[in-house]
Chain length 520, copies 2
């Protein structure tokens, strides 16, 4: 990794700063020509990234390519795919590890790479299929997990629930909020319920709490708990215990929680609910996109291009937030999953050797499906003072064969109209009817939201995050920023005297706050 | 309204700019004393706003009070409550109207104010109760509407669904996405289903499309559609038609969609699902908070104080986004509702006479429930470069009597720990374990999430939005920014030649974009 350097230490940085003084304007009469619209497209087998509505021109694309070459991003991508221990801050991380979520869908294709890890993944895939075939009595599944163990699998399931198998009910139990548990478990038939407890270490507070609650419910219902509960964990963890679990499915320690949708963490639940064909398509779509995202030509690699566009908008044009706007209700949870992936990965402020970075890193990622969002916050997108860059996601066809075609046409008409309105604006003498325009957006368009395109979308965003991290020169794969809050919460539990002492004066604020907030 | 002026034209503006050069630091050893924590609390009957973890000190609070007095915010609040036509941009709005959502819960108390409107509201309340009592055969209700006709009612229902009446199923159908309609209507027993179509004018595309779809389903199921469908609309609208609807319930034209949760728009569905006692509590809680928010003392009026804090963080300290973080899963939709209310109301850039404003107006509002969010984007909140201000919401007790007390204690311990961690940070030699702290937050704490506190929360945020608009000197109650996109979408429908011609060159970009994006 010796060739990594901070973005503001690159040659290309000066070019980008210069170009940012006069970015391409979207709201002039001849800005958006048909020629431009037809050429600024990154087309792949499963989806197209349209970027004519971004502040992009030919010199900028050249600068993107120069930066890509200068930072040897192809080598960095390969280092990740081939299992180098890139998850580290050099000199500060005790135990550097590899980043192997791509391997869960069979990338890289070269079977001689990462043989041992590949064998584990493939073995677990076979075991999961067999397990589900052997246990047809389970018609409901509850996945207990939080963060990456919930958001990703839940988002993939929600995206594809139009293809759900009949008589299969999949629920997710995550929050330590006890009202949430009661709500999720309503009307469960425990005799036909499979529970999967998901945690790498087995020490996550929320997951432990919810597992205990579910075990109590199973017992009350007269069930033998061991016959109903499996774990998904790393070998030799607290959850790797045949006395307590019917079986354990293993995940690699080198697959991060937020990148585990295509690992056993997502796979068991998705195979249970959607069946093997849809999940196999999902894996194939993700793998195909992993292959595409290896390309070094920025115009042909959608993850790399999107990463560069994000950095352009944020670091150079100062737009510190990105709204993801899918025009399908089925991707509502997908936005929340991306929010985690992006902000937990790149919401950092030090580089890969622990030095403070001199530029802004990750934007705020937010958003929700259209057309509903048009009736919510689009007022601000069009006429507000805070600038937002937007990523629309659309599909040429609906998921259901019996869906109204007229409604789907109306849906896409709205998507297209919004992009045009944001970019072009419209002059009016009435200041309340005036739209300045010049607000950037991009569009990811695919044929239909199915297993293959969901896999491709997931891979596209995962790889975009990795490329953003490479370019920003930070480690996208740890999450040290969540530790302090956890420790403080533990200190508020009884019998944690040692921890309390270690926290020093913080402890006083904490206890005072608890007393004042809760009055106890 | 002659006393309104732009914020940067006030006397207090200079004081605030001066104070912003050296805001109160939260991360010094003696910053957060017990005395501070115990005194910076705005306590009301139903909830407390704790603001010791904001960049606030005594001189700032004095400046807040001076600004409040200078802008005569009490008179502006009264002008709204008493029905002055404040929904206008002077000289540019054709038909200025009043802003009467507070009246839907009986505020102001003085019965001689707004007698006609009050009589209509009270009459419709009686009719709704009677209608539901007369039609016990309905066990499922589908509310068809979008934007304010969906988000608010859905959020209130979700917040209170722990108190749902047995054998009542309430669903919301909003998006024109046809897959969404199929998903929402799964497993409906049409014979026992009541449908409410909600639209002020009856001309909303999505609502018309979904109504037609639902009518077709009812007919296929052999039902007489008129016997199953009611409308909630304004008198003499397209939906005010006794031939098509079993009955129509009226809303005031002067209640905006996003402020209509406590009007008939929310009330019918909530009374159906939750029963009259919970809804009466909800109304009482909202009214009590409306009364509290009339106070001119910034330290005793939580809506005014929160509005001033938002403007302080955003306009003066440059933090352009606010995360709402409720520590209860039941408020997940409430955040989305607030996102609409805040961003559609104050995402503007002109003042109340149509002049461009010289400062930033509404921040990006986003967020989701903890502890789940801790496992998602909190990494960025703690160690990212983009600053976020946060509003935590907590409850001393769970909703369900059989909820695990230990889990609820853990939930609140996490909330408190996060606020302390954000504010205090923690020094470490390892830069990856270092937390700078000094990140502001506030906390709204109530006893339990029930009808009364949900009403109070809703009113608190609605009034906060109104105060922010008053201070920023903009009209919070229109939404002209959503019109252009709608017109363009209409132009993509067939047989809209006149509209196409009117749109001029924009039309070419639109048609080209449609061709390129969809290939047709």
């Amino acid at each position: 990794m010796s060739h990594t350097r901070d973005l503001d230490q690159t040659q290309s940085h000066k070019t980008l700063l210069e170009l940012a003084r006069n970015p391409f304007a979207l709201n002039k009469a001849d800005s958006l020509t048909k020629q431009r619209l037809s050429s600024l497209i990154c087309q792949t087998d499963l989806l197209a990234l349209h970027y004519a509505f971004e502040h992009v021109n030919e010199p900028l694309l050249q600068a993107f390519q120069e930066l890509t070459d200068e930072l040897k991003l192809d080598e960095q991508y390969q280092a990740m795919s081939h299992g180098e221990a890139i998850n580290q801050v050099q000199g500060w991380t005790d135990d550097p590890v590899a980043v192997l979520h791509q391997l869960t869908r069979g990338f890289p294709e070269d079977q001689s790479v990462l043989k041992k890890e590949r064998a584990l993944i493939e073995g677990e895939k076979r075991r999961m299929k067999q397990f589900l075939a052997d246990h047809p009595q389970f018609t409901t599944m509850i996945q207990i997990g939080i963060g990456g163990s919930e958001l990703g699998p839940k988002a993939m399931f929600r995206a594809l629930s139009a293809y759900k198998q009949p008589n299969r009910d999949l629920r997710f139990l995550s929050n330590v909020d006890p009202d949430h548990a009661i709500d999720v478990l309503q009307g469960i038939d425990w005799r036909h319920t499979l529970v999967a407890v998901v945690s790498k270490s087995g020490s996550t507070l929320e997951t432990k709490t919810n597992e205990a609650w579910v075990r109590a419910q199973l017992e009350t219902a007269g069930c033998n708990t061991r016959e109903h509960i499996v774990s998904i964990t790393t070998p030799a963890s607290l959850l790797d215990d045949n006395n307590k679990y019917l079986t354990s499915f293993y995940m690699l320690p080198s697959v991060g929680g937020r990148f585990s949708s295509s690992s056993a963490v997502g796979e068991l639940a998705l195979r249970f609910a959607l069946g093997n064909d849809v999940v196999d398509d999902f894996m194939a779509g993700a793998k195909a996109m992993d292959i595409q995202c290896r390309l070094t030509d920025v115009r042909r690699n959608p993850a790399l291009l999107a990463a560069l566009l994000n950095i352009w908008n944020h670091v150079y044009l100062g737009i510190n937030n990105l709204a993801i706007l899918p025009y399908t209700q089925a991707l509502d949870d997908f936005v929340l999953h991306l929010q985690q992936c992006v902000m937990e990965s790149n919401g950092k402020s030090i580089n890969r050797v622990g030095k403070k970075l001199g530029y802004s890193t990750s934007a705020i990622l937010w958003g929700s499906p259209g057309t509903n969002s048009q009736h919510s916050y689009f007022q601000q997108l069009h006429q507000g003072t805070t600038r937002t860059s937007t990523c629309f996601v659309g599909f040429k066809n609906p998921q259901n064969e019996r869906a109204s075609n007229a409604a789907h046409v109306a849906l896409n008409n709205n998507l297209i109209a919004q992009m045009v309105a944001l970019a072009c604006g419209r002059k009016s003498d009435n200041p309340n009817h005036n739209f300045d325009g010049n607000r950037p957006s991009r569009l990811i368009m695919a044929d239909r939201l199915d297993g293959r395109t969901v896999g491709a979308l997931l891979s596209l965003f995962e790889n975009q995050i990795a490329y953003e991290g490479f370019i920003l020169n930070l480690n996208s794969f740890d999450q040290e920023g969540v530790q302090l809050g956890k420790k403080l919460a533990q200190a508020l539990e009884p019998n944690q005297d040692a921890l309390r002492a270690q926290l020093g004066p913080l402890q006083d604020v904490l206890l005072d706050a608890k007393h004042v907030f809760l009055g106890d």
